[in-house]
C-alpha cells in the first residue's frame, strides 16, 4: 500500500529491532513491579492505566503535533460504553473492554471527520467543545441511563480466572494492556506510517506535495488515539467498577497534557515517565497541600520556557553533554535538544 521504496534509507530509519522493543518492555514491566513496594499495588495499577491514556494523547500531540484539549472525551466514551455494555448486554470483562474500545474508535471516527481538517487553536478548542458536549450528554441529558453526577456501578463479573476485583489479577491484566499499547504504538510510530505522521508535524504541506493524503493519515491517527484512550477508560471501568462524569470532565484534560509534557512529548518513554511522575506528584501534593494547582502551573511554565524536552529530553541532553565531554574534552559545544 505504501508508496515508500523499501530500499531507500527510510527503511533503515523505520526498522526498529524487535529485540530492542522486547528489552524495553521487560524493563518497563520491571520498573512497574519495582514501584509496588514504594506505593500500594492498587495505586500502581491506577498509574499504569493513566500511562496508557498519556500514550494515546502522545500519539496525537507528540508524534503528529496536534494538541487536543478534548482527549478526555474518548476516555469517557470508553468508560461509559463499557459500563453500559456490562450492565445491559453482557457482564463479560473482555467483551465489555472490546465494546468500550470500539465505541471510542467510532466516536473518534465520526468527530474526527470534522475536527481533523482544523489546525492549531481551532483543533484544540473544537475538541474541547466536543468534550464539553459529551460531558453534558453524560452528566445531564442522559441522566436516566447514566445516573448523572451520582455515578453508576459497572456490572462486570469475573470470567474464568480473570477476576478484576482481585488486586493481583488486575495488576497483571493492566500491565499486559500497557505493554500491548506500548508495543503497538512503538511498531506503528516506527513504521512508514509513523514517519508520515511525524512529517505532518514538521510540515504538512510538503507531505501533501509528496502525494500523501494527509487528511486520511490525520484521521487514522485521531481514531487510533481515541481507541487507545478508550482502552484506558474501559480499564478504569473494569478496575474501579464505579464510574461518574469525572471520567469525562473537560478540566481533566490538563492532567494528560501536563503528563505528556513533563515526560517529554513525542516519545513513548516520556509518556510513561510523565504519567508516573504526574500521578506520584498529584498523590503527594494533594495529600499535603490543599491547593496544589499553582505548583502545577509553575512547573508548566518552567517546562515551556526552559525544559521543552521534559524529563526524557533532559536525560538525553545530559547524556549528549557527557558524551561530548568524553570525546572532545571540556570545550566541546553542546547543542541543547
Amino acid at each position: 500500500m505504501s508508496p515508500l521504496n523499501p530500499d531507500t534509507s527510510l527503511s533503515r530509519i523505520c526498522a526498529t529491532k524487535r529485540t530492542t522493543i522486547y528489552r524495553d518492555m521487560v524493563l518497563m514491566a520491571a520498573g512497574f513491579l519495582a514501584l509496588i513496594p514504594l506505593l500500594a499495588m492498587h495505586r500502581v495499577t491506577d498509574f499504569m492505566i493513566f500511562c496508557i491514556f498519556v500514550m494515546s494523547f502522545d500519539l496525537l500531540y507528540g508524534y503528529m503535533g496536534r494538541l487536543s484539549f478534548g482527549q478526555m472525551l474518548y476516555l469517557g466514551t470508553g468508560v461509559y460504553v463499557s459500563t453500559l455494555f456490562s450492565l445491559h448486554f453482557n457482564p463479560n470483562p473482555i467483551l465489555s473492554l472490546m465494546a468500550g474500545v470500539v465505541g471510542g474508535a467510532i466516536v473518534a471516527g465520526i468527530l474526527g471527520l470534522i475536527v481533523v481538517g482544523l489546525e492549531g487553536a481551532s483543533f484544540a478548542l473544537t475538541n474541547l467543545a466536543f468534550n464539553q458536549v459529551g460531558f453534558f450528554l453524560i452528566g445531564s441529558a442522559f441522566q436516566k441511563v447514566t445516573q448523572g453526577e451520582d455515578g453508576i456501578s459497572a456490572g462486570v463479573e469475573p470470567w474464568g480466572f480473570l477476576d478484576l476485583a482481585n488486586e493481583h489479577v488486575a495488576f497483571g491484566f493492566v500491565l499486559l494492556c500497557l505493554l500491548f499499547t506500548f508495543y503497538m504504538l512503538r511498531i506503528l510510530t516506527s513504521s512508514p506510517y509513523g514517519i508520515i505522521i511525524r512529517s505532518i508535524k514538521e510540515n504538512e504541506t510538503r507531505v501533501k506535495f509528496l502525494g500523501y493524503n494527509t487528511f486520511f493519515y490525520k484521521w487514522l491517527t485521531f481514531v487510533l488515539a481515541g481507541a487507545f484512550a478508550a482502552l484506558a477508560g474501559t480499564l478504569y471501568t473494569l478496575y474501579v467498577g464505579f464510574v461518574s462524569p469525572v471520567f469525562i470532565h473537560p478540566m481533566n484534560n490538563v492532567d494528560v497534557i501536563f503528563a505528556a509534557l513533563i515526560g517529554g512529548a513525542g516519545n513513548l518513554f516520556g509518556a510513561i515517565i510523565g504519567g508516573v511522575l504526574f500521578m506520584a506528584m498529584k498523590d503527594t501534593l494533594s495529600t499535603h497541600i490543599p491547593q496544589w494547582e499553582w505548583i502545577l502551573g509553575l512547573l508548566l511554565l518552567v517546562i515551556v520556557f526552559w525544559l521543552r524536552g521534559g524529563v526524557t529530553g533532559l536525560i538525553k541532553s545530559l547524556r549528549d553533554f557527557l558524551r561530548a565531554r568524553m570525546s572532545r574534552g571540556p570545550v566541546a559545544e553542546v547543542k541543547k535538544g
Binding site: 500531540y61 503535533g65 494538541l67 484539549f69 470534522i114 481538517g117 482544523l118 489546525e119 492549531g120 487553536a121 481551532s122 484544540a124 478548542l125 473544537t126 474541547l128 467543545a129 466536543f130 464539553q132 458536549v133 453534558f136 450528554l137 445531564s140 441529558a141 473537560p250 478540566m251 490538563v254 497534557i257 509534557l261 491547593q291 494547582e293 499553582w294 502545577l296 502551573g297 509553575l298 512547573l299 508548566l300 511554565l301 517546562i303 515551556v304 520556557f305 521543552r308
Partner: protein, 277 residues
Amino acid sequence: MIQTLLYGLTTGAILYFFAIGLSITFGTMQIINFAHAMVYALGAYFLITFLPILQGFFPLAALFAILAIIPIAYVMERFVIRRLYGESLDYAMIATFALLLIGTDVIKWIWGNTPQPVTDPIGVSFQLFGIDLPLYRAVIVTMAFAVFAGLNLFFKKSIVGKIVIAALEDTEGVRCLGLNVDKYFSIVFILGSALAVLGGVLYAPISSAEPYMGFDILLIAFAVVIVGGMGNLTGTFISAFVLGMVIALTGRYYSQAADTMVFVVMAAVLIFRRSDA
C-alpha cells in the same frame, strides 16, 4: 419573551467584553490566551475589595478595578506572553493555562472558595410592554454598544489603532516599516485585559464572584471568537450577541443545554467554513 431577549443581549454584551481581548490577542500575537479568564475573575474580586472602601459607589469601584489590572496585565505581557511570540501555538496555550491555574489558586488563597454576591448597583427596573425589566441589564447592553463604537473609532482613527489593524493583516509587513510592533501589542493586550475586567465587574452583580467564574465564560468566549473569526472585530461583536441569544433562548426551554448549544452552533459553523482556520 422580552425578558429572555434582554437576558440574551446582556449575556452577549458580557461575552463581547470578554471575547474582544481574546480575539485581538489571537489576531495580532497568534496567542490563545487562557489567562484572560484569570483577569476576568480578578476584576470581579477587585470590585468586591474596592466597594466597601468606596462606600458602595459602584462606578468608581469598577474604574479602580480596571486600573488595578493594568500593572498585572503589563507584567503578564512582558514576562510571559512576549516570550511566546512566534512560538508554536501549543506552548502559548499551555503557558497561559499555567498562568490561569496559578491565578485561580491565588484568588482562592486571598478571597476564599465561596462565591461572593454583589448587589445590583442600580436596583431599579423599567417597564417595557408592561413587563418589569432590570435597568442594570439595559445599561450593560448600552455599554457594549458604546464600547463597540469606541473601539471602532480607536482602530480607525487613532494611530495606535491603525498600526494594530495593519498588524492584524500582516505583522511582518508592519515590522518592516520600522515600527516597534511589540510595543503596540502590549498596548492592545492591556486594553483587552481592561475590557475583560469590565466584563467581570459588570457580570458580578448578575451572578456572584467565584474563583472559577472565568473558566465558565472562557469556553463560550472561545466559541464566540471561532464563530466570529479570530481577529475579526466586527465578527466578534456580532457572534457574541448571536451566541448570547442562543444561550438565553435555549436556557428558556432547557437550561442545562444552554452552554452545549453554543458548541453545537460552533461545530456547525466550523463544518460549513472549512477553509478558515
